[in-house]
Symmetry: C2
């Protein structure tokens, strides 16, 4: 019997230098929102060269823009095509989507970086740059897994659908567009930076805006007014109480290690215009975590009820209810049963490759996996190289060894999941 | 014996139409900060025509700009001359300053006004417009008092110093400049809109800015950060406790009717940049009331101590102390004894003119009187037509009857205070 693992590892070693260079090229593409065309065209060419059926398209149209899960600050995507490459299986196997995003968040202040944010420089085994860990490193693991299988002459029975999407950082419009274009599979892997932990469940999230009202007055007679800043404190307390109630309900052992599995974060506060006037309006903006199995509408309702309950103790809120608005980003939660066959396969390959048992957890943030699981009937599991601790921050980097370990695990997983034939 | 009161009232009636027109002209001058030259030159001409020694000057210079009580967002005042007119007494009497500001706050959104903000339109006995109540109406009362005495051939023994100052709305640099130019007197009247209540004491105030620190983190793992918004709530509570302590100490019966004699108002809050990030910084801006007899430095120290005390209960504040900054506007408190002879004279004239006893209170806001009392050894009493309820708001207006009643009270008060001779 062929020792596929040894052959795959050997093949990865052979391709390591070229693959590292490819990752550097990807990181050197500053594919921030609206600027993804260049990298996407290069990826499309590569997929084509690998014999895949390639689909590069600019998303848009009513169905997408009016979809209830469509979230984006823009509606025009000509600088941001989506790319999908399908490696057709020989038939009779399970299909899989390997999904990853190429959009990166802005580099921020370059002065805070020790390397140029788009240099792709390598130092002590780490490749530096915006997007290295989130998530071009993971994308490389996926691509390399396919490349290695091809190089070894392995034909998978199920289709492998490699998706290089845009707009993940703004709420998933790229993956949504791919779903609406008809792409689905029997399962999906998304190599977001989990530090190679396996996340069958992901927290969803939604942004909200609260408008708290007061009544203006001169600061010298502030008792003639009602301070929206003071009223906001009651609102903050109510939100904190709601957060506690929601989290007390969560008994899933996957969440056991997290102090607050589904936090409600109040991230922005702004109100009042003049130091010696009583503030008559305060706006609070935040992010509400949604539990993996929870309906977003149910979470919204709980927020509405918590705000309405303020009126019970304070007649001010009865007359001046806090306004609630859901705006901006939204990530659908995802929930794949821990007994899903792909979970078992993944954990087995992880053990084979690393000699250690995989850590299975629930993710504290949303990914495009929620959309795949919920809308495309494609159970999505998140596992990939890199850590979120450095994502979105200066000096983002990814450990190259981990990228190649992930490629090895993915190659073996594809064989087990899709089934295979050899020449 | 001549019934001066009847003659004064009669003379005011004669001059009423012309005086009303003059107030309209003043209100039609949009003398917002930096735009006071036009009205000041007209006032200077008028004072000159009344035989007064007129002093129109543009303030400036090191002594002013470096003075510890100098507060202004600007240091260049060429568009904003100060005007003083002195009606010399015949000698042997007490002098008095009649101080009033011509600067007005901006009109704000004209759509919220039922009349044009600078129309000076009259409806049901009220004259409408920005500055009508704060405080061109009061300035007219002062000017008319002098005019009427002159028309009746009365010569006062003490000097009457009519001051038309700028920059009151920004903290009193105009009056400070007049003081530094050498103007002082045995007492002062300032017809700010007190609704004809007599304020021998005025609350001072100072603006402050607090910077509350947190530590950023992703909202999905918000427990890894420290929310500056949550920390701000502790700061708001501490400020509220300090306000209570400071007000519990105030036993002055003049403050008996005020729920919070010297409030600390938090007027502005701003912090955080992203709904799904933990806010790492919140800024709070506010106004601290200072008691009439209190030193501003002592009030500042109490604020510093209250903020320092946060560290006792929460080590976060020990490592990340709240930053305190005193910025922007500042009004020195004022305190004239209720037994001051001008108080008695004023109350007597009020009773004569209105048939009612004057209401004596402490003002909940600062005026330029604090500077006169503290720096120029000129005890200043605040009493004038109009109400602060409409000052700084759309549809500001002043009741014309009250303006003329005030002129009558002032004319009689000048005679009693300065002493008089008749031709």
């Amino acid at each position: 019997m062929t020792n596929w693992q040894a052959l795959i590892r050997e093949q990865i070693e052979k391709e390591r230098a070229a693959a590292t260079q490819l990752l550097q090229e990807w990181v050197r593409e500053p594919s921030v929102q609206g600027e993804e065309r260049s990298i996407q065209e290069k990826i499309a060419q590569r997929l084509h060269a690998m014999g895949m059926e390639v689909d590069l398209w600019v998303m848009g149209g009513e169905e997408l823009l009016k979809h209830p899960y469509f979230v984006s600050p823009r509606s025009e995507f000509s600088g941001s095509p989506n790319v999908v490459g399908v490696w057709k299986g020989t038939g009779g196997g399970r299909s899989i989507i390997l999904n990853g995003h190429v959009d990166v968040v802005p580099a921020g202040d370059p002065a805070q970086w020790s390397h140029d944010p788009f240099s792709g420089e390598i130092e002590e085994g780490k490749l530096y740059g915006r997007g290295s860990t989130d998530m071009k490193g993971g994308n490389l693991s996926s691509l390399l897994a396919i490349q290695v299988l091809q190089a070894l002459g392995i034909r998978l029975k199920g289709d492998v659908i490699f998706q290089s999407v845009v707009e993940e950082e703004s709420g998933g419009a790229g993956t949504l567009a791919a779903i609406l274009r008809g792409y689905k599979a029997d399962a999906a892997l998304i190599p977001e930076p989990t530090n190679m932990k396996i996340f069958p469940k992901q927290q969803g999230s939604m942004w909200f805006r609260l408008t708290v009202k007061g009544r203006s007055a001169h600061g010298g007679t502030r008792y003639e007014g009602v301070s929206a800043i003071e009223k906001s404190m009651q609102v903050v307390t109510a939100i904190s109480k709601l957060e506690k109630e929601r989290n007390d309900r969560i008994v899933d052992p996957l969440y056991a290690k997290l102090p607050i599995p589904i936090p409600i974060n109040l991230g922005v506060i702004e109100g009042g215009k003049w130091p010696s006037s009583v503030a008559d309006l305060v706006k609070l903006e935040g992010r509400m975590g949604v539990a993996p199995g929870e309906k977003m509408e149910a979470a919204k309702r709980e927020m509405e009820e918590a705000l309405a309950a303020l009126a019970h103790d304070d007649p001010w809120f009865a007359e001046h209810p806090v306004e609630l608005e859901w705006f901006g980003a939204r990530w659908v939660p995802g929930d794949v049963g821990e007994d899903h066959p792909l979970m078992e396969i993944l954990q087995d390959q992880f053990l084979k490759v690393t000699g250690e048992r995989a850590v299975v957890e629930a993710s504290p943030w949303g990914t495009d996996g929620g959309l795949l699981t919920t809308l495309a009937d494609t159970p999505a599991i998140i596992v990939g190289p890199g850590t979120t601790a450095v994502a979105h921050y200066p000096n983002e980097s990814v450990e190259l060894d981990e990228v190649f370990r992930c490629a090895e695990i993915f190659a073996l997983t594809l064989m087990e999941w899709c089934g295979y034939e050899t020449k």
